[in-house]
Symmetry: C2
Subunit: 401 residues, 2 copies
Amino acid sequence: MSKPKVFEKPPGVKDYLPETVAKLRQIETNVLECMQKWGYRQIITPTLEYYDTVGVASTTSDRKLFKLLDKKGTTVVLRADVTAPIARVVASLLKDHSFPLRLSYHANVFRAFEDEAGREAEFFQTGAELVGDSSADADAEMVALAIACLKAAGIGHFKIALGHVGFLNGLLQEALPDRPEQQEALKERLLQHDYVGYHDLLRRYELPEAVREELEAILRLRGGQEICEQAKELSRDRGAKEAIGHLCQVWDVLHAYGVSDHVLVDLTMVGDFTYYTGMTFEGYAADLGFPVCSGGRYDNLLAQFDRPAAATGFALKTNRILEVANLDRTDAPYRVLVRYAPGKIGEALACAQQLRQRERVIVETIRMDASDPAASSGRNVSERADGQAGAAEYDEVIEFA
Amino acid sequence: MSKPKVFEKPPGVKDYLPETVAKLRQIETNVLECMQKWGYRQIITPTLEYYDTVGVASTTSDRKLFKLLDKKGTTVVLRADVTAPIARVVASLLKDHSFPLRLSYHANVFRAFEDEAGREAEFFQTGAELVGDSSADADAEMVALAIACLKAAGIGHFKIALGHVGFLNGLLQEALPDRPEQQEALKERLLQHDYVGYHDLLRRYELPEAVREELEAILRLRGGQEICEQAKELSRDRGAKEAIGHLCQVWDVLHAYGVSDHVLVDLTMVGDFTYYTGMTFEGYAADLGFPVCSGGRYDNLLAQFDRPAAATGFALKTNRILEVANLDRTDAPYRVLVRYAPGKIGEALACAQQLRQRERVIVETIRMDASDPAASSGRNVSERADGQAGAAEYDEVIEFA
C-alpha cells in the first residue's frame, strides 16, 4: 500500500471552488426557501448513525453503505440518505408532535468508495418529507413541490415520470403467481431500464401467449393521463387496480395544481421495491441522462422506528442540478481594493469599513509594501480576469499614499 | 456488544430541530456574508481526507482524529478542521493563483468518540484564512474580522485575548536553554490554564531566583497595550523581542480599526505550539467558560503541501455561539392553513399558490377528511403553541368547503 501524494484526496470526493460554491449555495437557498413556503421546516441530523438503526433502514443497498467501527466495536455508518434519520427523529424527539409533519433538509450523503471511475462517494441532497398523510393529495403535493423546487433551482426544462410499485407488483403476481424469483428478475430488469433484457426473460420463461403479451404491453404504458385508463384494462388483480386508481387521483390533484404538463405516467418506472410502497417518481432534465430528483411513498419505514405512519417524500440530486442549472446571475458584487501607506492606515481602514456598509460592495485592504503583489510586481491589480479566488479583478482601486 | 436501541444515535452527535436550525442558519449566513464583505470567498472541501496528507497536518491531536480504512487499506480521516484541507487546495487546485488568497468556509468537523460525557463528536466551524501575507496587518485583519463576525453572529459582549507563541518560546529558551522537556512541561501547564501547576513546576525545577521570578512574572502579563512595554523589559532573547515587536504592530493596526477595546494582550495564552508560529488569539463571550473563536498565524503548514507560504486565520466555534447568540428575531412568518373539500381543490390550491408569492407567507394545504387532524379530532388547529415542527400554530385558516 503506497502513501498518497501530498495533495491527493480519497476517490470520489471533491473540492468546490468559490464560483461553484456560490452557485451551489444559491440552489440550496432557493430550494429550501421554496420548501419553507410550503410549510416544510428544516432539520439537521448527524453525519454518523448506527448501522443497526438508520443503516439497515436506509434505501441504499448494504454494500454501498460507508461503514466504520466505533471504539466499542459497534458498527457506525456515514449517512447514505436523510429519510431514514428523519424517521428516527419523528419517532423520538418529535414523537409528541401530531401529524402531518412537514420536514426539509439539505445535507451531504455518502456511498462506500467504488473502484469504478467517476462514482461519487460524497454528494449533496436537498429534500422534503411529509409524514402522517396517506392521501393521494399528499403524494401529489410531493410531485408539485418537486416541480416548484426544480424551477427555483434554475432547471428550465424537465419531466416528472410518475409510477406506482403496486401496479407492477399486482400484475406480476397475477401473471406469475408461484414464481417469485421470476418476478424479482423482471423487476430488476425494469429497475435497470434494461428493456431488451426484460423481453428476453419473458421469452425464456415460456409463458402462455396472452400472459407474455400482457407483460410486454406494460413497456408501452408511458404517456399522459390516458395511460391510466389503458392500464386499468390490463389487469384484474386488486392491488394493481387500486394502484392505478390512486395514480389517477394523484394525476387529478396535479392537474388542479396546474403542473400536469410536466408529468408523464410511466408504469415501468419502479424505484426501489424494498423501500417504496406506493407512488414513485423521478425528474429528468433535458440533456441529462440521470434523474435530478426522485421520491415516492414509503409507508413501512416509520414502523421500523416504532411509530408506524404513512409517509411520502423526495430528494433533489443537488450535484446534478449544479451541472445544468441556469440561475439568474444575481448582480455581481462591486470589488474594491484599498491600498495604504503605513502612515495612512487609519483613514484607509475607516474608508474600507464605510464602503462595506454598502450593499454588494466587497472591500479588501492591503498595505503598500513587499507583500502587495501589485506594488512588488509593478503590474496592475485589475489585470487578471479569471474570476477565481486569489486572482481578483477589482472594479476600483483606492490608494491612501 | 449490545445492539443499539431503535432511536439511539452514536455518542457525541445530535439532531437539530427546526427552531435551532433556523438560528444556526442565521448565524452561518450572517458570518459568511460578513467574511464575503471583507473579500473572503467560500470553498467546500470533502468530509473525507487521507490521514497521511491532511490528517497529519491537522492541528487536532492524533488520538482525537476520526480514522477509518478504505477498501485498499489506506487510512482515511473525517476532517477535524478545514485549515489543513484549505492548505491542500491552495497548493493544488489554486496553485496558479497569486497571493494573498482570502478564503472562507462553514463546515462540520469531527473528533473521535470520547467516552467522557458531553464531548461532541461532530460540530460546526465557520472560518477564514488569509494565505500569502506575513504582515502584522494580515494578523490584525484576522482579529478585526473575527470581531466583526462575532458581532454579526449576535454576540454582544466578548473579549479577544491576543498572544504570540514566539514570546514564550524565546523566554523559555533563554531561561532553560538546555532543558527542552522542562520547557514543554511548562508550556503544557499554560496551555491547560493550570497556573498553580505552572508555579509548582517552577519551584520543583530549582531555578536561580532571578530566572524563577522572571518566569513567574509572565503570569501577570495580561492587560492592555502597556503589557507589550512591560514584556519588552522581561527578556533579552531575540525571538522574544521580535514577537513582542510584532504584537505591538498588530495592536496598532487594531487601534486603527477602532476595535482595540475588545482586545487584551495575554502572553500566557499559547494555543497549540506545534501548529501556530506567531500571533495567536481566542475570543471569550461573557458568561461562557469556553472560547467562541480561536486563530493565529501558521507559517509552516503550507510547506507541508509543497507550496511554502505565510498564513493566518481563525475559526468561530459555531455551536458555542449558537448557545449564547442573541440575534434580532427576523419577523416571524405568517402561517396559513388552507383546508378544502374534495370538490374545491382547484380554487384552494390556486389560493395557496398565490399566497406563497407574498413575502414571509407560509401556506400548508390539507384536504378535509380523516387525515386532517383538525377535522378528525374536532380541536382547533391553532391550539398548540410550542412552535415546533408538526405542532404549527397558524395565523389564519382558510376553508374551501
